[in-house]
Symmetry: C2
Subunit: 299 residues, 2 copies
């Protein structure tokens, strides 16, 4: 039988379609066995006794932890991972825009061609091969580039010419042409790109950060950009963030800064819909759901 | 036996490697059966009697036509088509940069996020599916977009969801989200994008031109950008070209203009090398060469 799912606080058409594509039917909250909640936790009241599963809209689940702990009879699932392809899309955008000289031409008011590089034929190091890194490797596949992946343990990543473990990361800085940072922010990855790493990069290197600002030592990056020792930096995340007015990064022409827009609101329903459809299907089939929220791990 | 090839005026290492990879050997001009000429026609003197094949560096061959006609015993081959992948790379760069808001963020000096669109999930029309169009379709493949191709006769293009013949092109303007112009400049394609086509496009549409400036009616484009009736334009070619200082396109924030740099000099040898290697191989094997220059067609 088709599981009874409520979508709240409003029944977004993309999510309704996803519930139905997953084999469910959309019902009022009081009749529901599952709930897709497209709003902050604070806007959700007490759950009816019939609810056995709640799908959250967000990838981060900190505000939900208390409710999750208080309702062990309910399965909570998050949106973690579903936004990876858009983040990878922006990483590729920043990389291409940097390498192909858009940082220069975007502000130009005169026809002044330069002999910029192309991405094709280059070596791109991707630090972190979770969902974002893997989605980026897929998007780089037709570009005739060689991908070096760095993962914690160094297990082979599909599509990468080589994968290195994190403890051999120092090998990549002098070898790759460009660098994309897509690793989680932990104490071990703080300032993963600092003065030493920047100094080892080739003069044409673009450094892209779509992870967290803390992974790059901002002062060292500003110094490298000022000295012209790297090609440039494409940053969707910064440290500090938001980057304050007057910060020296704003005045570096070779810094392409997007204000943490890798996953824009207008695209979120589309991706959440994938997770909803799959989890409704699994809920109907009695299978384990995707992206279970685990109070023990805190994510 | 390995064919005797001269490379002039200078033996570029990439081209030497290509000749050898194709099974040839590099010799002085007087001993050569084939010549790879990496310079304008005007710098080449009279050809020794032993020369049976000349590989040109350029895709355009107009300056060679007199010599080609005067030397029917010699086969001339051009570089036509070998630069398609870099042009496609720039087309994708401009498309992504436009859609993801880099036209806006590139000039920003303050943290001000907007809810921009993503490329993923959109429909991209590609007008012209020659080498550039096909290379772009390959590069779009991992992006979860639907490609509509327009070709002269409308024969199916691999990777396109639909292919339309040129005489049904009017169908695409209201259907696709974004438009990439990659068709040859002929009398039939002049102002292919004009006021009527721009008016039919969705308000978020980006129009990319990597073909020739004449394919877009510049005045109509400026009017559409001023009215905000399209998302923006990414132009590697313009009409007039070079775009003069003070032209209204320069002051449109939603016009991303690159000064005809789709095929930058630094990348040319890499691509010419592919053509040289393949043609040396064919020359050695007695096969028909790639990209024969034909005086009758004028290209």
């Amino acid at each position: 039988v088709a599981p009874a799912i409520h979508i709240g606080p409003e029944a977004q058409p993309e999510i309704v379609a996803a519930v139905e594509a997953g084999g469910g039917r959309v019902v009022p909250l009081a009749e529901a066995a599952g709930l897709v909640w497209i709003a902050p936790e604070s806007q959700l009241g007490e759950l009816p006794a019939g609810i056995r599963w709640v799908q959250l809209q967000s990838a981060g689940v900190e505000p939900w932890m208390e409710r999750v702990a208080a309702n062990p009879q309910i399965t909570f699932t998050s949106a973690t991972g579903v936004y990876a392809t858009e983040v990878a899309e922006l990483a590729l955008t920043l990389l291409l825009a940097g390498v192909r000289g858009l940082w220069r031409y975007g502000a130009a008011t005169s026809w002044d061609p330069h002999d910029d590089r192309v991405l094709e034929g280059s070596t791109v190091a991707i630090v972190g091969a979770g969902g974002i890194g893997r989605a980026l490797i897929e998007r780089l596949a037709p570009h005739d580039v060689q991908v070096l992946a760095v993962t914690r343990r160094g297990l082979d990543v599909p599509g990468a010419a080589r994968t290195l473990p994190a403890d051999r990361m120092s090998d990549i800085w002098g070898v790759a042409d460009h660098f994309v940072i897509a690793a989680p922010a932990t104490s071990a990855t703080r300032h993963l790109v600092g003065a030493e790493q920047l100094a080892a990069m080739p003069a044409h290197a673009w450094v892209i950060n779509v992870a967290r600002g803390s992974l790059i030592d901002t002062d060292a990056l500003v110094a490298a950009l000022e000295a012209g020792s790297i090609g440039g930096a494409g940053l969707d995340v910064t440290n500090p963030e938001p980057l304050p007015d007057g910060h020296p990064l704003w005045s570096q022409p070779r810094a392409l800064i997007t204000p943490h827009v890798a996953n824009p609101p207008s695209a979120q329903f589309r991706h959440l819909a994938r997770r909803v459809q799959e989890n409704v299907r699994r809920f109907a089939a009695g299978e384990e759901l995707e992206a279970l929220v685990d109070t023990g791990r805190g994510y």
